[in-house]
């Protein structure tokens, strides 16, 4: 029974913290309720968008952890060439996937006959939220990884479990803002 008990003792508190933070993402989603009804396809793109956000931020954070340990990136907030390559790769990936998500969500709406989808609206929301959340997440992850590392802690262990949750909250907030901006334009 020892190992199972240890998994519970370490796993449950961490999970409870993650769930508590995740409530914020739930609140943002609830406050978008009327937009979810008005903008066909918005609800389709949300899980895919949050997945993308978690995947890209998670791998950025784990590369950063490795690079700090190996001394490839110094624990200071300067835009070195190594950091630049990491950021560029992350941004390019988020742009490409946000576009893909927008177009795919629209295509699925047409295919399944959901009423009146708008291609410019759905693509603009996905793209704008993708850009916004990328800038916010890379800033947040870089600053916190460097902070954690310079305190002599391991970013992989300390930050790793919270990157996805941070991504969900930042991702939902970015979608919320993108809906406001795009809704105001169109």
């Amino acid at each position: 029974m020892g190992e199972a008990r240890r998994i519970f003792a370490q796993g449950f508190p961490a999970e409870a913290i993650a769930i508590t933070l995740e409530l914020l993402a739930g609140f943002v989603l609830v406050s978008m309720a009327s937009s979810l009804e008005k903008i066909t396809g918005l609800l389709i793109l949300i899980p895919a968008f949050l997945e993308m956000r978690g995947d890209i931020s998670g791998s950025y954070a784990s590369r950063l952890g490795t690079a700090l340990h190996q001394g490839i990136i110094a624990p200071e907030l300067t835009l070195s060439d190594e950091l630049k390559q990491n950021l560029l790769g992350t941004y390019a990936l988020a742009l490409a996937e946000s576009l893909l998500i927008g177009f795919a969500a629209y295509a699925v709406c047409l295919l399944l006959g959901f009423p009146n989808p708008s291609l410019p609206t759905i693509v603009a929301i996905s793209l704008l939220a993708g850009v916004l959340s990328s800038v916010l997440m890379t800033g947040l992850v870089t600053a916190s990884a460097i902070f954690v590392y310079s305190r002599g802690l391991d970013p992989d262990t300390v930050l790793g479990p919270y990157i996805n949750t941070m991504g969900d909250v930042v991702g939902m907030l970015s979608l919320f803002l993108a809906v406001l901006v795009v809704g105001g334009w169109l």
Binding site: G11, A16, I19, E22, L23, G26, I44, P47
Partner: protein
């Protein structure tokens, strides 16, 4: 020459992120087809992020722990009874039960505080325990299969298995939530 290359990061990450995005779109389609119900009972919307998060985490924990056990040789890459595997499954399932109850409590309490109309507390508890149960059993099974596959192919679970189990959790989470909402005649 830098150690990291933006192009390499892009090319290597693109396929797996795309697969997880496509699976995520399936979850989205399920949600979109229930949009009227979700908007009329916004409490259900509040449950989605924590439930999906929970499912994804169990998948990550079991597949990462098993990959390590496989590398250490304490578990063989075969589906056979094994004390290490049993302990891992028991531990994760215990976390799943406690976490599902916690989701019910946390979402109910915070919705009530914020003035979001809630469902009756016993319904919230039943809903969360049942979704949590279905979700954790399916995701743990997916995680075990993915860990054995990742070991067999020599993939790093951080790069390939995790994005897949987390998006599978999204689909199972929303499908079981909406199925139970219907079965329990909540909507």
């Amino acid at each position: 020459m830098t150690v990291y290359s933006a192009k390499k990061i892009f090319v290597e990450s693109m396929p797996v992120v795309t697969v997880s995005v496509v699976i995520g779109l399936v979850a989205g389609v399920v949600l979109e087809s229930w949009v009227k119900t979700l908007v009329s009972i916004p409490f259900l919307l509040m449950l989605i992020p924590p439930l999906n998060k929970m499912g994804g985490d169990f998948g990550i924990v079991i597949s990462s722990r098993l990959s390590t056990a496989l590398h250490l040789g304490t578990v063989r890459p075969k589906l056979e009874p094994n004390p290490v595997l049993t302990q891992n499954l028991l531990g994760v399932l215990a976390v799943a039960l406690a976490s599902s109850a916690y989701v019910a409590l946390a979402v109910y309490a915070s919705a009530a505080l914020a003035g979001v109309p809630t469902l009756p507390p016993h319904q919230v508890l039943i809903l969360c325990m049942l979704v949590g149960g279905v979700l954790s059993l399916t995701i743990v099974a997916t995680g075990v299969v993915c860990a054995i596959a990742s070991y067999a192919y020599g993939w790093d679970p951080d790069n390939t298995v995790i994005p897949i189990v987390t998006s599978v959790a999204d689909v199972v989470g929303v499908v079981s939530l909406m199925a139970l909402v219907r079965a329990l005649a909540i909507a």
